[in-house]
Symmetry: C2
Subunit: 371 residues, 2 copies
């Protein structure tokens, strides 16, 4: 899995054993992270960034890795997360395959990859590992924890499990728990991977790989990451160029939107470990901030000890719908936090924070500049 790890990635060893929320423990596990900008003398300028399901820790171009990162438009000198001021620590989630320990990692007990012997993964584990990472780097408190999508769940879990660790919070297109629509979509994505004979109950190799299942899972993902309205404008009923249409397949892709899904999926399929995908996907369904906190969701949110929070949602997001963003904002606002809630009109749905720089930059820049 070494080919998945970006060049500027560094590592923190987790304590052994590292107990897992749903049982079991990891031994000799590590967390991959990348940093941008420098810590200041007071060591109080850390912005901790927790990602969605698929990104690695390479959030932006880095002296050791000049390729664009997954949030290139937002992180860097003079950008909304301004690395002239902030020391950005972007953490690759525990369970992922981009450097942090996950199902494709070697189990020291056997010398073989964990695969499905990896213990149940929870958002709580991702949060605990991230909290350990910033502390291991010598920071007792971060100025802000930013979480996007699944990363917002991780951030909320971190805030409730590690009170005092963060001074402020930015939540983008996330949720306190998954609702049935997104559970259904992820269930179908997992089913597509598991139904692929190449999956072999997690025991695939390069020559036997659930390629078709990964393509199907990613395509279904794309359908829910974007919005119908964006696609009406972008693709309409346009057809693919004839030379890109496979011959001899009476049901092969024909419309431009089908070609787009195929290209997006092909880009992803060999870049993400299928077992990691299954574990991360499942932990999003399981996460429930209230359940995790042993109280009602609203009470869990009200207890969060940040001074300020910015909660941003997108009106066209069908995977983490706006009502879930409002729930976070209302819940945090009922506590001690000064909360700003923004409902953006981006047409790009859940993915808007990755592409709609024009709408996302100003509020994020303003919030951080006022910290």
């Amino acid at each position: 899995m070494g080919e998945f790890i970006p060049r500027a990635t560094r590592f923190v060893d987790l304590p052994t054993p590292f107990p897992m929320h749903r049982g079991g423990a990891l031994h000799g596990a590590r967390i991959a992270y990348e940093t941008h900008g420098e810590p200041n003398a007071a060591r109080d300028n850390v912005v901790l960034l927790l990602t969605g399901l698929s990104p690695n820790a390479h959030v932006a171009a880095h002296p050791l890795d000049p390729t664009p990162g997954w949030w290139e438009a937002m992180v860097g000198r003079g950008k909304p997360v301004d690395t002239d001021r902030w020391h950005v620590v972007c953490v690759n989630s525990l369970g992922s395959c981009k450097g942090s320990t996950g199902p494709p990692s070697t189990d020291p007990a056997t010398g073989e990859p964990y695969r499905l012997t990896f213990p149940d993964l929870s958002v709580e584990d991702i949060a605990d590992a991230a909290a350990f990472t910033v502390r291991a780097l010598g920071f007792e408190r971060v100025a802000c924890v930013i979480g996007t999508s699944m990363g917002g769940m991780s951030a909320l879990s971190l805030l409730t499990r590690h009170p005092g660790l963060a001074r402020s919070h930015v939540s983008i297109s996330s949720a306190v728990h998954s609702l049935p629509f997104s559970i259904a979509i992820r269930s179908l994505q997992r089913e597509a991977i598991r139904a692929d004979p190449g999956w072999r109950a997690g025991d695939y190799a390069d020559e036997a790989y659930p390629h078709q299942g990964m393509l199907a899972a990613r395509k279904l993902g794309m359908v829910t990451y974007r919005s119908a309205g964006e696609w009406d404008v972008r693709f309409g009923r346009s057809r693919m160029a004839a030379e890109h249409r496979p011959g001899g397949d009476p049901f092969g892709p024909e419309f431009a939107v089908e070609g787009y899904l195929e290209r997006q999926a092909q880009r992803f399929a060999r870049q993400f470990d299928p077992n990691s995908y299954l574990y991360l996907s499942r932990c999003m369904d399981w996460f429930d901030l209230g359940e995790s906190s042993g109280c009602a969701t609203a009470a869990a949110l009200a207890r969060v000890e940040v001074e300020k929070a910015l909660v941003v949602g997108v009106q066209t997001d069908i995977l983490f719908p706006l009502r879930q963003q409002r729930q976070i904002a209302d819940g945090l606002g009922a506590g001690r936090a000064d909360v700003q809630f923004l409902a953006l009109e981006s047409p790009e749905g859940h993915d808007a924070f990755l592409v709609d720089t024009a709408r996302f930059s100003p509020p994020l820049a303003k919030f951080l500049s006022e910290l």
Copy 2:
């Protein structure tokens, strides 16, 4: 495929050859239909009902088949489509597997099932076959053609290709063409079936059947037939009863919504021919009323020669969204028709016309009673 045909089904032989819109022709083809109520003396009381992708012609309980039909709440004595007044003719779409000729039917030229040698199927063919059927039954003009979902596409095609055949029209949750979101969903459904090794390029048998693919296709369908909001209320984050959860599968269904999808899919998978599903699904993507009419969509709609039309859409429908219903209403209204447009607030999404009897009955009953 005989087991798919309801008991009250009757048949009309299509002319031989029956030319197909995209080329080729059928020989010895037939259309399955069911009737409810009696023709009046003037033979002007026919309501022609064109269905969505999956229903058969058994629309309601019948003297020869007392089992409930797919629109039981709406068709019958004293119901909105009142069979004391109307002679209802419900047609099983050409290409389906519920009695009308389709891919599982025997090709008289070979004595073998057509499977993928069935010619390209178009909504235009479904419309032509339905028009032929009512004329073969001795009706030169129907009082109303009702189309639901795909059946609304068939109805619009019939109205433009057979001007004068219908005096009025009810369009429910349909479209003048498919937009990229629904094309993407259907493309993924077809891919799930084709990716199943049991599909064998359409050459499956009882012992090798794309069961998993059909389950996945139906589950994805259900996700788009209902609405996220309905499921929030209906399922929330409830778990399945422990006794229904498969043992030994770390990624098996766990949430109530997953169990619901599984049950719905199991009910469907062996009740619909996979090749028929692929052909019908594809023809919905292809259909484009404007293209079919050789003019702009608006012009095609304005030319429709009905006296009155009722266009009903549902605000939570993500598959045939409300803007597409408004497009039909506006387009028909620009012509000679007196058009009523209704945007219902049903939580059940695209499926609302099948289940939200309370909201659908009054306007449908009123429209028909005023004819």
